[in-house]
Symmetry: C2
Subunit: 69 residues, 2 copies
């Protein structure tokens, strides 16, 4: 998924499945003046950034799993 | 709360309450080689970074609220 510059939405496409073990961190951005949608961007272990679907059940479970660690 | 450099835990102190409206984004980092605890770092609208307590109920509700927007 392509990540655009900061001034507008960063996620043009999102994926709804990702291997939990590859995630180094997750950035969750609420809608704001620059973008009307919530965005979830995973930084994976090789440094790449991947946009995740905030509504995908697996993405929500991943966030819960990280918080419960 | 002070944010240290990347190579070890970034959060030395955490807070468990924050005004949702001040949050620009949240970074959630699972435990890893560099740090044995989950870390939740909020970037607030003035650009400051604040460490939140991953176990605080309010912090979890804020993350849910952002995902449900």
């Amino acid at each position: 998924a392509v990540v655009a510059t900061e001034l507008r939405c960063q996620c043009l496409k999102t994926i709804s499945r990702i291997d939990f073990k590859t995630i180094q961190s997750l950035k969750v951005t609420p809608p704001g003046p620059h973008c009307t949608q919530t965005e979830v961007i995973a930084t994976i272990k090789d440094g790449q950034e991947v946009c995740l679907d905030p509504e995908a059940p697996l993405v929500r479970r991943i966030i819960q799993k990280i918080l419960n660690k």
